[in-house]
Symmetry: C2
Subunit: 380 residues, 2 copies
């Protein structure tokens, strides 16, 4: 049963109303905040705020207020000849006093090489995903919480990745086109298009925001070698923070230059951003790491010595086997991962030993989280 | 004639080489930095760094160094049996000591309503753009420096905006599809799809990164009303900074919640970010403003009173006629603007007075800047 809270009393307190709840909690509601969120000011289908805050001054205040017989907070405003009615459940849900008392819980479960023995946690069957919302939700949870998922037994027809991914949303287009083809080609514009080994990296670090998720759909894998590698960059960043805090702080505070001059695109991409960023909760936001695309570092000379030592340490940890898992992609696998958290790599393969063909797709992180919010009926 | 610099002398200085130039400048080059940027460690076509920094320790240093007869800095390393040769021109261009002495110059030219009398600065003919790189460059410069451009005399066939935009790059897809149709529809999922006035806003503020540029291609405009409005949000932010610095700082430091629950998409999008953000040079980065999509504010109760006063002031300035320009879109116009800088709005129109049909496109900011870098032969 959903717990219901009732308002015990309301009083004025400077520029806010102070609400006492029947369970002892207290909330403050700023006058402009209240007026701005009056339920009457929302478009019925577009669900947008239609109320224009400029129709009132910053001095607006309740001329009178009361708890009406339905238990709603009813306010008659000093301006605009307007009465607002707020449901107590809505007030409680949106109480910013209480929201700001809650401690932050990270959605991320970090992992290291012990995941090698728990592949079932990051594996899901294609049929399970397309058979309904429960399967889709499970997959999106693997992607959002663990940052990695291996979809098994997908079709192996060309471009059939679209059939699965459209269950999430549209894709993120890039100059590599969609899907991009991971095969061995002459004069490659990217070393992914060779048979060489690829050290652990994220894709497209020279974009203002690199694609949120990457999907590598294995169609054919008859070549010897080419084992895939994955590392949880957030786990490595935590290790760095706990064991080399100075280095962690240097990397957090030093924008790095990434450059792309793809010879097939008439474009020169340059982006400065730190290798590790945090979000507003000080949780991990991005690992932006690709030695291949790091431009010539141009931070201040005072910082360069420290930066390079810290950078080399991060590079070392990101290739430390205590954090790496590895696996061989089979035809019908769709290797899916948070491209701004999980670094991917691969071992060299022998292009003469058999064909190897992956097709790649990107989808932004907004789409993964937004779809999961919808399936979880999140009330933001 | 390109000025050439010569190295006068080189000496060791702790973990760096100290270079004296013939014009009196001095540069320091960190050992790891030098080793990491050895020209031999780059893939010939992919232009990626192939050198692996983990093949050397953090203690690597020059066993010997000299200026060779070609004027190059030649280093024999203490590890790896390797000799590196650096062109002096390259060393000078990439000298981070000198780079960090240069003061930052903003690429942005800010504007207010006086632009109303200088429309030629932000106008360009369609033919000029498609006739060659000079026209394209001029258009991209309007977009990048001024944040706004009115393309005149474009074709008015449906979807013909693609013909122009492909000169830049691929587009940024969203759930509105591409192109999206700005017309009056029943049960709109967005108030843009009504005939009502739209207050100044940016599009899609609930995305982690809202689309960088928006292109509104006018196919038909026979309706009375519907005047377009534009405001340089960076100009307004500067005014706020200069005249209401406390408010400016509050807005800079308070993440705001944006929410989208489009009823046509099975997604709930929630994003927290400040209304104004700066870049690493303290230049303006983003104005993220849409009253329509602002969720119920949830900052800390200590900040709420101040936030709402500052927010209302920004709202006021963003609709102050001293900053607004306005114009009527004609068929064949492509109204193009930096969606994370320039706010757009429109006046109400009468849907019974005639047809009005715009088609909209988005392209990310990376693509505008990257293409301009290419046309300007930028050497990053």
């Amino acid at each position: 049963m959903h717990e219901t809270y009732k308002i015990s009393s309301v009083s004025k307190n400077g520029s806010s109303l102070l609400v006492d709840w029947n369970d002892g909690e207290k909330s403050t509601y700023n006058f402009l905040w209240l007026r701005d969120n009056c339920p009457s000011g929302v478009h019925p289908t577009a669900r947008e705020r239609t109320f224009n805050l400029l129709t009132v001054t910053e001095n607006i205040h309740p001329k009178s207020y009361e708890i009406n017989p339905e238990g709603m907070l009813e306010i008659e405003w000093s301006e605009g000849d307007h009465i607002s009615k707020y449901d107590s459940k809505w007030l409680r849900h949106n109480c910013y006093t209480l929201k700001n008392k809650e401690s932050y819980k990270s959605p991320y479960t970090l992992w290291d090489n012990s995941m090698q023995n728990s592949f079932e946690k990051i594996t899901i069957d294609y049929e399970e995903i397309i058979s309904g919302d429960e399967g889709l939700k499970k997959w999106l949870e693997q992607l959002h919480y663990l940052g990695i998922s291996l979809v098994k037994n997908a079709p192996t027809e060309k471009d059939s990745g679209f059939d699965l991914l459209k269950n999430i949303s549209h894709h993120r287009e890039t100059f590599f086109k969609t899907p991009f083809q991971v095969i061995d080609i002459p004069n490659p514009n990217n070393s992914a298009y060779t048979a060489k080994d690829l050290r652990n990296h994220i894709d497209l670090p020279y974009y203002e925001i690199a694609p949120g998720y990457q999907f590598l759909h294995c169609l054919i894998n008859e070549a010897a070698g080419g084992q895939s590698i994955a590392v949880d960059g957030f786990r490595v960043a935590l290790y760095l923070k706990e064991n080399f805090n100075d280095y962690f702080n240097i990397l957090l505070n030093t924008p790095v230059k990434f450059v792309n001059r793809d010879y097939t695109a008439n474009t020169i991409r340059v982006m400065h951003a730190p290798l590790i960023t945090l979000d507003r909760n000080n949780d991990f936001n991005d690992i932006r790491f690709s030695a291949a695309y790091m431009g010539v570092m141009d931070c201040s000379p005072d910082k360069m010595d420290k930066f390079y030592i810290a950078y080399r340490k991060l590079l070392e940890l990101l290739h430390d086997e205590k954090f790496e898992i590895n696996f061989r992609l089979e035809p019908g696998d769709i290797y899916s991962f948070n491209n701004r958290r999980v670094l991917h790599g691969r071992k060299e393969y022998d292009p003469n030993s058999g064909e190897r063909h992956l097709q790649g797709y990107y989808i932004d992180r907004d789409e993964i989280i937004g779809r999961l919010n919808f399936l979880n009926k999140v009330n933001p």
